[in-house]
């Protein structure tokens, strides 16, 4: 009986090609557009988030400023400077600090490799800098480590654009480069990353070396800035306060003098981003639900029109002897076939489009599209349920009517 039913259904579906195609197309397109829309939204969100976090998460960049309040006998307007030992001093004084690193910077330093010559910014930092500032080394390379520090090795970690400029497309790791005429060995290259925020140039154009090596050569007395991160990122503001107090004690400025010690706290930025992304996620959700509803209504409408039209068809079948069960099985299988074929085709098409878009390298605009299985499955389930309910409900109702009533609609 089931088998005979399926044959009858396939026959009727193929007899009513236009109707079947229209329905299938509606379901297919509904599924495709919902999946694509949500996938795009997620990709945009992910790529924006990645870009924003390129500089590192929940870090504080600390500069020395000018006092704006007279204090302890000093007039206001005094320029402060960090000394070489300040990072270590803070590390000892402020237990809330998880990692800290001084950062020395020199701009427009001549770099030579063979006959290639170009100026770059050089930085000297501690190994702790790596994790805080999101310095991810390319595979087969590394950042500055403690041994480099202890032995004052002449090694550099370079930005990917530095490598490209100085070494072309060849791998620079293990090769030498001259900085201010002094040879250094390249030990690592940063992987290409998106970075929106920066304070002294993008990391991809920078060169990093151990502070010990740097001080041996350049002998600076002052540190450009400090970078610190709290042990527990939720205690960042307490840490900032403790840092200001410790420095105020050392350099004798008013602890409430915000201009004496400017701090860029990226957690504030992260909090803003967090709010922004929550908003964006809600927006996406609303758009997704709206699309589902609009798509669902469209599909429900198609199914409903078809079944209204079919009520008389069902009446005729009942009049010539079809039992309720036969009608119900027939329309059950039919709506099932239509809804599953439509949604699965829509899903596959969405996959194909996503694949194509990723292939076309539009990732600078939308990021890499990743088909989220939960979204795909939920979309398929919701759309096929709508189709099913919209198609099956009226058919069920029609089958319970007296044949004459059904025939006359």
């Amino acid at each position: 009986m089931i088998f005979k039913n399926i044959r009858m259904i396939l026959r009727e579906l193929s007899k009513q090609k236009l109707r079947t195609m229209l329905t299938l197309f509606g379901i297919f397109w509904g599924t495709t557009s919902v999946i694509l829309l949500l996938t795009f939204g997620i990709a945009v969100k992910a790529s924006t988030s990645k870009t924003m976090h390129g500089m590192g998460e929940a870090i504080c960049v600390i500069w020395s400023g000018k006092t704006s309040i007279s204090y302890g006998g000093f007039p206001k307007g005094r320029q402060l400077s960090f000394y070489n030992d300040d990072a270590q001093y803070l590390k000892d004084q402020v237990p809330l600090i998880g990692e800290i690193s001084p950062q020395y910077s020199r701009y427009d330093i001549a770099v030579n490799v063979g006959d290639k010559k170009q100026n770059f910014t050089i930085n000297a930092v501690w190994p702790e800098f790596q994790d805080m500032r999101n310095m991810v080394p390319r595979e087969g390379s590394r950042f500055i480590n403690n041994l480099d520090m202890e032995n004052r090795r002449r090694v550099v970690f370079i930005g990917n654009e530095v490598e490209k400029t100085m070494f072309g497309d060849t791998n620079s790791v293990g090769k030498m480069m001259l900085i201010d005429g002094i040879p250094y060995k390249v030990i690592g290259v940063i992987i290409a990353k998106e970075q929106d925020g920066s304070y002294n140039g993008r990391d991809k154009y920078a060169i990093f070396m151990p502070t010990t090596t740097y001080l041996g050569i350049y002998g600076d007395r002052y540190v450009n800035n400090l970078v610190a991160r709290a042990k527990n990122v939720n205690q960042t503001s307490q840490m900032k306060k403790a840092i200001v107090e410790a420095m105020a004690k050392k350099y004798r400025f008013a602890p409430e003098d915000t201009q004496a010690l400017p701090i860029w706290d990226t957690t504030e930025y992260d909090q803003f981003l967090g709010t922004f992304f929550t908003g964006f996620t809600i927006f996406l959700g609303v758009v997704g639900v709206m699309t589902l509803i609009v798509g669902g209504i469209g599909i429900a409408n198609i199914m409903y029109v078809i079944v209204e039209e079919r009520t008389s068809e069902i009446g005729i079948k009942r009049a010539i002897g079809a039992k309720k069960r036969v009608i119900l099985t027939q329309y059950l299988i039919e709506t099932f076939v239509i809804s599953s074929v439509g949604t699965i085709a829509g899903f596959l098409f969405a996959r194909l489009l996503i694949f194509g878009i990723n292939k076309a390298h539009l990732d600078d605009f939308v990021g890499v599209l990743i088909l989220n299985p939960t979204i795909a499955i939920l979309t398929i389930i919701i759309i096929s349920s709508i189709t099913f309910i919209a198609g099956w409900g009226p058919a069920k109702r029609a089958s319970t009517l007296d044949p004459v009533v059904a025939i006359n609609g």
Binding site: E12, A319, G321, K323, K324, P403, V404
Partner: protein, 220 residues
């Protein structure tokens, strides 16, 4: 074979109640050729639909082959419509997307008849109504008379005992009307019970068994 007692049918369309049939008593014996006449809107089709188990009376008793249809469940009624009764509608009621062959085959599918026998039966009945050369046409590719013959073939294909026809010649020209009427007469002569709503005077050449309905009641 058909026994109706005190049948009443009320249509409830919103505010207005239409009493389409009232106090109808009717008796039809096996092998009868009964014609039903009456003005438009008098309740003829309503009576036919109840007789064909396509609709239920509001009140009253209807016994078919000695069994009250009130006591039958939906499956039994479906089987009755499928095997016992052949119904020819006033407006054909063919499935528009199905061919002549498929329309006629459908009652056999619902009866669970096997493929080979289905083919034999459909072919022979289409021969009988003279549509062998229109098997693969759809209803909209057929003339009114041809459609009516498809409807008749569909009503007859399961060899029912009772044939109910609602103005089968009403929409036809004289020529095809005569052919259709002849078909029914042949079926009657073969021993079928026929109940036909008709204003066709030709029916009177074969039977003087008729009832007149006015305003939902049978005139004496």
């Amino acid at each position: 074979m058909i026994k109706m007692e005190n049948i009443r049918k009320v249509y409830n369309t919103g505010k207005v109640e239409v009493e389409a049939l009232r106090n109808v008593d009717l008796h039809v014996k096996r092998g009868d050729f009964l014609t039903v006449i009456g003005p438009s809107g008098s309740g003829k089709s309503t009576l036919m639909n109840i007789m064909g188990c396509l609709d239920k009376p509001t009140s009253g008793n209807y016994a078919l082959n000695g069994l009250n249809i009130k006591d039958m469940d939906d499956n039994t009624l479906s089987e009755l419509r499928n095997k016992e009764i052949g119904f020819v509608f006033q407006n054909f009621n063919l499935l528009p997307y199905a061919s002549t062959y498929e329309n006629v085959e459908m009652p056999l599918l619902f009866a669970g008849v096997s493929g080979k026998i289905r083919r034999e039966k459909v072919t022979s009945i289409l021969n009988k109504v003279g549509l062998s050369d229109r098997m693969h046409h759809r209803p909209n590719e057929l003339s009114g008379g041809q459609k009516q013959r498809v409807a008749i073939a569909r009503a007859l294909v399961n060899s029912p005992n009772i044939i109910l026809a609602d103005e089968p010649t009403g929409n036809l020209d004289t020529q095809s009307g005569a052919e259709i009427m002849q078909l029914f007469v042949d079926l009657w002569k073969e021993g079928n019970t026929i109940i036909m709503i008709t204003h066709d005077p030709r029916a009177k050449e074969y039977t003087d068994n008729f009832i007149t309905i006015t305003d939902g009641t049978i005139q004496a």
